[in-house]
């Protein structure tokens, strides 16, 4: 754990976007996240890897307080966004979520038109002054979501009528449309074909120039490709958090090594 502190120091010198301290999450009696400390840097892609059920999604959902919506979920510890505790009473989770956008594991388009799916966020956040601006945002977001060409002729068809992959890209585009500062993605490419995946990865890379991106993935290749930092979770613990190259070439913890070489899960 020495290295963790070392990292923290380097990170402090950079801009830290999110820092989590001693985070504990319980679902009723299940202890899903156990004392996790992590610093997520701005303008960086961080990936969370780990076996299924290890708590990646849970931790991700802590970062924009989506867990608030689950009654039995209790979060302890501090999570700071730009130095401000997001679990502070004065923080408006809504505002937080506008800053920290999210793409879910299962694509969940609204049962509305494709256009309205994208335009919804900008509308409620007042990002467009008029129809033309809104149109522009919608088009830009759909392009960034690598789905514009497929849907440009049926913007007013329902979003639920798209294929699984299309739906997922729509959801990414929807999240991007609100111009968040941090984008959380829970396995955003799990339903995508390689080309679309590549496009989304490109998008992630593009987003990195402005924002912090956190991505949960099962594909070690993907983690290696897109992320600069990688966190490895195991059974609710953050086992190791370091530069991606370091994790994949020279992990400190034996569990990490076992996982990336395919021995534990």
């Amino acid at each position: 754990m020495n290295d963790m502190t070392k990292i923290e120091r380097t990170v402090d010198m950079q801009t830290n976007k999110i820092s989590a301290k001693n985070v504990q999450v319980h679902y009723g009696d299940t202890h899903a996240i156990k004392d996790v400390n992590v610093e997520i840097q701005d303008k960086t892609v961080t990936s969370f890897i780990g076996p299924s059920g290890c708590g990646k999604s849970t931790f991700l959902r802590c970062l924009n307080r989506m867990n608030d919506t689950i009654d039995i979920c209790r979060v302890q510890g501090d999570i700071l966004l730009d130095g401000e505790d997001i679990y502070d009473k004065r923080v408006d989770p809504v505002q937080l979520r506008a800053k920290v956008g999210m793409v879910f594991q299962k694509p969940n388009p609204f049962p509305k038109s494709i256009y309205d799916n994208i335009a919804y966020g900008p509308r409620i956040h007042g990002l467009a002054r008029n129809k033309a601006e809104l149109d522009e945002i919608v088009e830009k977001s759909l392009r960034r979501g690598a789905i514009w060409d497929e849907v440009k002729d049926r913007l007013h068809a329902p979003g639920t009528g798209l294929s699984g992959g299309q739906q997922q890209r729509l959801c990414i585009a929807r999240a991007v449309a609100t111009e968040p500062e941090v984008l959380l993605m829970d396995e955003p490419c799990s339903a995508l074909d390689p080309i679309a995946t590549a496009q989304v990865e490109e998008l992630i890379d593009e987003l990195r120039e402005k924002f912090a991106v956190v991505i949960v993935t099962h594909s070690m290749q993907q983690a290696a490709r897109v992320s600069q930092k990688t966190a490895f979770f195991h059974m609710g613990n953050l086992v190791e958090y370091d530069d991606t190259t370091k994790i994949f070439t020279n992990p400190e913890d034996s569990r990490t090594e076992a996982y990336i070489t395919g021995r534990i899960g």
């Binding site: 979520r97 879910f104 929807r174």
Partner: protein
Amino acid sequence: MTDMTANGVPEATPHAKSSLLTQDAHTKQRNAAEKRFRIYGITAIAIGLVFLVLLISSILFKGVGAFQQTKLTLQVELLEAKLDKSGTRDIEKIKKVTTFGYNPLIDTAIKRALEEGGIENPFSKGKDLRKLLSSGAAAQIREFVVANPDRIGDTVEFKLLASSRVDGYLKGRVSRESLARDKNLTPVHLDMVDQMRETGVVNKGFNLSFITGADASESRPEQAGIGVSMLGSFYMMLVVLTAALPIGVAASIYLEEFAKQNWFTDLIEVNISNLAAVPSIVFGILGLAVFIQFAHLPQSAPLVGGLVLTLMTLPTIIISTRASLKAVPPSIREAALGVGASKMQTVFHHVLPLAMPGILTGTIIGLAQALGETAPLLLIGMVGYIASNPPEGLIDGFLSPNSAMPAQIYEWAKRADPAYYERAWGGIIILLLFLMTMNIIAILLRRRFERRW
């Protein structure tokens, strides 16, 4: 499957290599179950529809007569000697002449019509002749005279309502045999009616005043109409809709989306489901105590009726709204929250529209229940003889005494004269039309919101 039962030993792949084109025993059995299930469904709908058809057809059969009415066209001379002895056309003096004072005019008019038609008149007393006519005829003429005092002295043509027995005769309800022991009319009258029909004095026509008119007293079924109580129902539904729907939806949203699990929420929940089981008459007791005796709202007013029915329908709307809110998948809520919508926005932008079909169903059923309810109205003074006239304005409609369609129908169904029985069923037809108009609007709305995801 077959060999499995034969050998008693299950194979690794029990249905291996069985042909698709032939069904094995188990599948047959399951398909039979499937067919049965489908038949149950069809039967269920058929049962519902058969009863509906049965009910509707018997309603139509019994009630359609109310939409026709017999009238006598008579030339009435408005004798100055009877109506304005002083000759001053002083309206106050003219008003002093009661409806009883108009009877001689009517007698003369009937006699004249008989003479002109060459019809023999076996009656010596005017009273017996007047049995052909509604007792409201005098009031009709008096009203005309009070409104047009300058016409006194003229002979004016009136279309006067026939009495309910004469009307029944033309509709086939009354026959010479059925009149045998009736003291209200004799077969001789019917002979006269037959002849007067030939001369065109007696006519049966569409009964517009049944649809627009007000209630009449026990002895004048021919004059009774449902129009005013329809307005009463309309105003009550207006109150119910504008109060129960928003309150119900708001309460459901609070309970389903915002309320934390605590004793207060439990208290509300238990109360709501309990209120659904409270007999409607108890709501009447409540309405009398709270709205009339405590809040001093006027008696017999549609406003009060509407408020009582609102309280009564709220549980229905809340329960169905909550059920449909619950049915909206959480992923939709997450999606909205994820792009930074507030909880309130999530609910109003996404959840509510998706729950709309269920809400509208609840509203339809709740309003239908409210529209057909009589018992609570009994206690707040909306059942009985409430011969209000059409309200004078929007506000007046809420406050002036009125009845409601089901109460009116209930009253009519209780009255002695069989002519009222026909009116009651006619009223039910109108009530159902009213209900269907209401439903169609809601159903059109519902269809706009219905989709599967």
